[in-house]
Amino acid sequence: MERFQHLRGRTSNLFLESLLIVALAVVLFPFVWIFVTSLKPPDLVAVPDVWIFEISGINWRNVLLESNIPQNIINSLVVGVVTVLIALAVGCPAAYSFSRFKSSAATRFSILAAEMMPPAIMILPIFLLLYQLSLIDTLWGVILAHLTFVIPVVTWFLIGFFDEVPRELEDQAMIDGCTHFQAFYKVILPVVRPGLAAAAIFGFVLSWNDMFYALILTGGESKTLPVAIAGFWTFRGVEMGKMAVAILIAIVPVLIVSFFVQKHLVRGLGGGAVKY
């Protein structure tokens, strides 16, 4: 029996890996399907059982050249970038302050509570406010709305990163001739640069993915990409093909960038509760 011990270990590992591969298939199948769909000619899109066909670029051409999708992409980009920049500008100093000066657990937690606020409570007044300011159907409205959840997320995220920088670093900087504020931006900020990048990417992804606020606050020219995607609602082949393309455009970049922040995510999402 002894001699086969290692074999048994190997077979059980193979079994476990085959379970993982099933999970992998379940995860990947929709992606593969949407990719295949985006390459189908319109008359085949609505037929479920066709896997071999002549690849057609017509859906991609339709979307990229003859639809509003490029505009929607730009809108989403602008909203995401501006939101994240504002969130970093206000969240970064505050996160440092939370991390370095003994703030009560409850104050820290209010940030998380803000993140958890249901969008339903925010949307009504934000809508009415923007309505009165005639900012409905502009990107400013969406940016304002996205700030309500991106700022808390980014701040919460950064607190974790600042917590991990040893205090002696700014002590040293202050002895070396910096004021506390100089120590913060000359020494601590560069040290947490990876954290800043991760927080920025994560905040951007959240903004890029939101549909609820954008659905209510934008229209026509100002629609963001998810809202535009939501517009592909019919089962007509032409529309479905375009939808497939639009979905791919919306998810592929996010999948790529998120790959780089995965390992930082736990800290960001779980706060101090889970260390990675």
Binding site: P166, E168, D171, Q172, M174, I175, D176, G177, R193
Partner: protein, 370 residues
């Protein structure tokens, strides 16, 4: 190099008094070691001198300059931290030049000084590396180099050697001392390691519970501890403590095992302290030094190399003694051993207050209160 004066320093965190009435003068160019068990307030005191924390009351003077309310950057000090606190995103060169640049020293001068100090410490080939590419010992050197290059009026060290392995630690100890001889910079060095304190300090300050227990040269501290606390903390293995009574110029331990004559000591409950190094073989001492002869049973022998620690049992009391290896011949655990004491090396402490009772010529000179 100026002297440092601390006047009645107090530090409270909330309701917690961490330091209470510290008065201390550190002489020019002196290497002062602050030593004490963890939590005694030594690191806090260092941070107060650095200006990283603010005193609750009291005054700090560097030379004649009152720096009590100054920011760390205005105090002209350099500090080496336990974890080195190297800026991880900067190269060794940038780390060392950061402080000079922040003070507006011109680029050529910065370069000259960094290279000079790097050569002195043997780290010139590391100048372009990042801290994470360095070994612990190298990081340590860079941290010291970063302090030296600033040419400050005061050096502060916060347990700088405690993250190194034992061998490197002894090496760096010697090297730091050489550096000090060269620079003659006023230095305050914090450690919890009494051996480090003894071997490095020109002067030692023993702290406990936020109060200075004793200050003096390593010799003073070792041979004339002012109370039980210092006596127990300094020296390894630590001092043997025997409870007993003095009446009519005679000390008798509680179990009656040890009885010695005393001079000029008041009657009452006392504790007799005997350093393990002061327990001898009869052949080591002249007959008139044999103040007390004891027949013991050997319980445990721990061989250290040239010397051994032996645990002796006399009437239920344990005594630890350090003897030379050559005496181990012919004895073993369980066998009997005769040891002698030199009564001049006895330390008597008041059993209630813990204060040292026997006053010798030294104590009179130092003006140490009994």
């Amino acid at each position: 190099m100026p002297k440092i004066t601390l006047e009645n320093i107090q530090k409270k965190f909330g309701k917690n008094t961490v330091l209470d009435g510290i008065d201390l003068e550190l002489g020019e160019g002196e290497f002062t070691v602050l030593v004490g068990p963890s939590g005694c307030g030594k690191t806090t005191l260092l941070r107060l001198i650095a200006g990283l924390d603010q005193v609750s009351a009291g005054k700090i003077l560097i030379g004649d300059r009152d720096v009590t309310r100054l920011e760390p950057r205005e105090r002209d000090i350099a500090m080496v931290f336990q974890n080195y606190a190297l800026y991880p995103h900067m190269s060794v060169y940038e780390n060392m030049s950061f402080g000079l640049k922040a003070r507006g020293v011109d680029a050529g001068e910065v370069k000259r000084r960094v290279i000079q100090v790097a050569e002195m410490l043997g780290i010139e080939i590391l100048l372009n590396r990042k801290p994470k590419e360095l070994s612990g010992g190298q990081q340590q050197r860079v941290a010291i180099g970063r302090a030296v290059v600033r040419d400050p009026s005061l050096f502060l060290f916060d347990e700088p050697l405690s993250n190194l392995d034992a061998k490197l630690r002894t090496e760096m100890r010697t090297e730091l001392l050489k550096l000090h001889r060269e620079l003659h910079a006023t230095t305050v060095y914090v450690t919890h390691d009494q051996e480090e304190a003894m071997s490095m300090g020109d002067r030692i300050v023993v702290l406990n519970d936020g109060v200075i227990q004793q200050r003096g040269t390593p010799r003073d501290i070792y041979f004339h501890p002012v109370n039980l606390l210092v006596a127990g903390f300094i020296g390894s293995p630590s001092m043997n403590m025997l409870h007993g009574k003095i009446s009519g110029d005679r000390f008798a331990s509680l179990d009656g095992a040890i009885v010695v004559e005393t001079k000029n000591l008041p009657d009452g409950d006392v504790i007799l302290g005997i350093r393990p190094e002061d327990i001898h073989q009869p052949a080591d001492l002249t007959a008139e030094q044999h103040g007390c002869v004891l027949n013991c049973r050997i319980d445990v022998i721990e061989l250290l190399g040239a010397r051994a620690i032996i645990t002796l049992i006399v009437v239920g009391v344990e005594l630890r003694a350090v003897i030379e290896e050559r005496y181990l011949k012919g004895i073993s655990e369980g066998s009997d051993l005769i040891v002698v004491f030199d009564p001049d090396r006895f330390h008597f402490f008041d059993a209630v207050t813990g204060r040292r009772l026997n006053r010798d010529r030294f104590d009179e000179e130092q003006g140490i209160d009994g």
